[in-house]
Symmetry: D2
Subunit: 141 residues, 4 copies
Amino acid sequence: MSDASVLSALIAVNEQATFNRWAGFKVVSASAGEVELRMSWREEVGQYNGFLHAGLIGALLDTACGFAASTVSGPVLASQFSVRCIAPAKGGIFVVKGRVVKAGRRQVFAAADLYCQSLESKELTLCANGDAILVPVGIPQ
Amino acid sequence: MSDASVLSALIAVNEQATFNRWAGFKVVSASAGEVELRMSWREEVGQYNGFLHAGLIGALLDTACGFAASTVSGPVLASQFSVRCIAPAKGGIFVVKGRVVKAGRRQVFAAADLYCQSLESKELTLCANGDAILVPVGIPQ
Amino acid sequence: MSDASVLSALIAVNEQATFNRWAGFKVVSASAGEVELRMSWREEVGQYNGFLHAGLIGALLDTACGFAASTVSGPVLASQFSVRCIAPAKGGIFVVKGRVVKAGRRQVFAAADLYCQSLESKELTLCANGDAILVPVGIPQ
Amino acid sequence: MSDASVLSALIAVNEQATFNRWAGFKVVSASAGEVELRMSWREEVGQYNGFLHAGLIGALLDTACGFAASTVSGPVLASQFSVRCIAPAKGGIFVVKGRVVKAGRRQVFAAADLYCQSLESKELTLCANGDAILVPVGIPQ
């Protein structure tokens, strides 16, 4: 598949996930084993202190891992994911980059980094990272 | 603090978190080191296959860990959390139970179990579990 | 299999692992989905400060998870494991208890708790816990 | 500190850890935030199938994370570490590279990659990776 086909396939999957639509996840680039998504800040994604909710941090990282995995292994389900909250997640835009570390037949290892971007400086700050193990669902259970 | 005060304090914190309000998290019980939250299924919390989105699974587990930690250590921030997706998360109601494993001065270790409950059978099925390390924010950085 | 057969099978596997023999791991009890191992302190298992080396903490937890999984799913390989170091690991004897959380066809979720026991008081103190995802190796790759 | 001083300090710490001496860990390079260690295969580091024991995989990854953290934050203790077993760990030499992801005052986030190297081809194959959260022990508890 060309990168353009990979990207349009992921955009379609993303639109089908009601949570992703609600949260405003946008797939902005994709190629075999790599994806980038973005989400704009708005109040509903916050926790009581005005930072991005850890649940959204996890959702962005897990989605980036799963989408990256799907570019090489087809539909997958997460079996495990871990999140490290490295710096306060505050910003106008959140950018998450996912990549496949190793795609096995039965398990795909993926990782992702989440960056906060202020609307003024455009600078990206690493605010969280994570990893996931995904299981391809197309193979017989 | 009495359990009733612990519970009403957590209900207030939960109401302040815009994401928790949007997702419909409800704190249903709490005591020192233990909490239980519930969330009803609706389409916006789903992923493309109609199961609960892994991001929401993480958000429920992380929130339960954080709330449990806060009952013994005051306000906390998650520094790390892990999620294991044990069985497909499908049901009418999701019940998450969080507990403190060890509350240190600088780090609190907590764990949580997420159950799916069908509206018909009322049976609880373990669908995910997780753990978190939380850092108390009240102490000097 | 009877619990006695489960136990003697694990004792045999444990004796085959050269590392386990070196470290002095002993399988002391086992039944379907549950195992207990012990290891005595000696200088070679320590790190620079006289505490149990984090590598041994991980080895005990991972072994307990793997052995517990093998009682229900046959030979397994770890695909992921996590360790939380809850309290300083110091003592005369280390006791680790592993249990299966969920045994699926393609993945087994297991967890374990590690206790330190002083030679004087015999009291068990939780010093670490962990979890693992194990993959049965008997099924076709 | 110069890189040479960082390296000789780590070599000294490594020699003090009885487990590291037993296992044959060698610190081969170090600079601020980065370290590399090596270990040769021998039978005692194996599990029943002749692969490197998962406990040693964890010990190498955790040690690399801890040593990397110590180059920027002084003495540290692991509070959490995770290990992903990506490919069978078999080889003549194991090479582990650790790096600091973010060094905060109260927590250091580090990550490490473990490579297997066959004695013939010299090629490095990624066989595991991991991450750790370390707590500096020099600051008041």
